[in-house]
């Protein structure tokens, strides 16, 4: 397990064990277990309705689990009300109190904790400074941009020095550029203060960029919990492979831990099946070269900025996505013959 924060000693362990929560016939959480190490930043990733927000809300005390236990720093908080759990939470949007200035919003939690006026003012100033908004302290929510509002919400959540920081899709309502900036800023601040953090998002790039570990959820269960690179390179299930990044499903024949795909023998990841299989290969795990005697025909070529993507159909009728360097993109034209070859990276094979 990787714990990246140098201030991890300030964080506490968080354990969600065998959590169950259902809404009528729908199991939002199906015996979900998730343990966060002190100071760790874990992102929960998954499609809508997979249970990630329910898990976060159960941890916050905003939802009651039907079964299971939740501990924070070794203390069982399952039956404890939200206001006694010592949490900071940033919501998706519109959570600032509109009748209070940025400073008053940040001071609110401190006031709830009985801090005196001067301590509150000093702490609020420090927090607004931390998120780079000292100059906006006297502004109301409607006088700030969406990104600034979320920064204030983050300052407000952190001002009370919570044991756990909960981020419920805090970036999803922002435009792409602000989202990236704030994402990096959240990570910087989290590393600085070392608070154990649970971040819920449906954006895989966000999750992979900031988290120590990413948990991919599906139908109320955790499919895989792993550091971002491992999750990407060694997906445990077909769902994880396809949800995180792009993947090709290529027919192959597997035996003895290897599979033959497009004429190349690939090592298989643990959990792969034998016999007639589909091998999940990333676009960057395949090479494409113009070749009149090749094994595929280019259908389209797209420029994506840092790199390009070539879509080709093999002579066997399979569609393959291949990542190529932007500079090489002009050499691929629709209708052109190419040779597509797996590079040899380990891949997951699932029964066909």
């Amino acid at each position: 397990m990787s714990v990246a924060s140098p201030n991890a000693e300030r964080g506490v362990a968080v354990e969600l064990t065998e959590l169950r929560r259902s809404y009528g016939p729908v199991n939002a959480l199906d015996s979900m277990t998730l343990h966060l190490a002190p100071g760790e930043f874990v992102a929960l990733l998954g499609p809508s309705g997979c249970g990630k927000t329910t898990a976060l809300r159960c941890l916050a005390g905003l939802e009651d689990p039907d079964a299971g236990t939740i501990t924070i720093g070794g203390r069982d908080v399952t039956a404890l009300p939200t206001n006694k759990r010592d949490l900071g939470m940033v919501f998706q949007a519109y959570s600032l109190f509109p009748h209070m200035t940025a400073r008053q919003n940040v001071e609110f939690g401190l006031e709830m904790r009985g801090q005196d006026k001067s301590t509150r003012a000093r702490r609020a100033g420090d927090m607004l400074d931390l998120v780079g908004l000292s100059s906006q302290a006297d502004r109301y929510a409607h006088q700030m941009s969406g990104g600034q509002q979320q920064r204030v919400a983050l300052a407000r959540a952190l001002a009370i020095s919570p044991q756990v920081l909960l981020l419920d899709e805090p970036l999803s309502a922002l435009d792409a550029k602000v989202r990236t900036q704030l994402r990096d800023e959240i990570r910087r601040i989290q590393l600085e203060i070392g608070t154990t953090t649970l971040f819920v998002t449906h954006d895989q790039e966000e999750a992979l960029a900031v988290a120590d570990r990413v948990g991919v959820m599906r139908a109320g269960r955790l499919e895989q919990l792993a550091p971002p690179q491992e999750l990407y390179a060694r997906p445990a299930t077909a769902f994880v492979a396809e949800f995180v990044g792009l993947t090709n499903r290529l027919a192959g024949r597997a035996s003895g831990g290897r599979a033959e795909v497009l004429g190349v023998s690939l090592p298989l990841l643990a959990g792969s099946g034998d016999g007639n299989v589909e091998v999940l290969v990333r676009p960057e795990g395949i090479e494409a070269t113009p070749d009149p005697n090749g094994n595929a025909t280019v259908l389209s070529a797209a420029f994506l900025g840092a790199h390009g993507r070539v879509t080709a159909r093999t002579d066997g009728g399979e569609q393959v996505e291949v990542q190529v360097a932007s500079a090489a993109l002009p050499s691929f034209e629709p209708g052109q013959r190419v040779r597509v070859t797996p590079r040899g990276d380990a891949a997951l094979a699932v029964a066909r």
Binding site: M112, H142, A157, I160
Partner: protein, 295 residues
Amino acid sequence: MAKSPRSGTRALGGIKPSGALAGVVPFFAYTTVFLLIPTLVVIIAAFVSDGHLTLGNVRALGNAGFLTALKQSIILSALTAIIGAVVGGILAYAVSTARPDGILKRFITSLCGVLAQFGGVALAFAFIASFGAQGMISAWMKKAGVGPSSTLWLYQWDKGVLLVYLYFQIPLMLIVFLPAVEGLRPQWREATETLGGTTWTYWRRVAMPILFPSFVGATLLLFTNAFSAYATAAALVSQAQPLVPLQIAGTFTSETVLGQANVGKAMALAMVVVVAIVMTIYAWLDKRSSKWLVR
């Protein structure tokens, strides 16, 4: 120097002359004919008698009968506004917690839409048929040996009239205030809780201050609604004229005192003044309490 088209547009104070403005012409025409001109007529006529300028009409407002009616009108309007606002406000909150597309919510809001406009003679008659001397409920109560021995209370301004006014004031409050209550975001309550606050903290520090401007605005609307109501009171009260609208009507229809029409207009002017004072207080309160609102 010839003006450019751009500077010509600026001369209109930034308003772009477009077809869209034509849409508000009927509104302005309507308010001019039925609000502005009558108000001007009232103000001018209050200072005119037999074609001469005079302060006599205004001086006539000093008589005890009018002052009592004015006091009673203000008390009745304030009481029905405050009770209506509190009860209607609580009802609006209860309705806001129901399922948005549920039948209960749709039924209550539709019903209140009708009841809020259900004033006048029909409402007065409904109450007389229920609580009057021969009323259905009065008869049941009599049979059961409960309730007051007399039904005269129904025709008194501070009892029956007040109760009947609440019948349209409470639904009106619900309709006017419901959008504000529904504007409370669940995140505000949840943020309060995660920051260590309780339900009471949420109401005291967050929800109530946010709702305050809307609540005061709605209460003012209820006040003016009751202050200007005539038909309901007229249908219930046949003896004396305990309220200003009834007194004004009296100056136009009295068979014993003639030539009082302009005194009636002076009374209407007094009503305008009362509403202006209430509006001024509201504007002051609103300015203090809603600096945070988007303007």
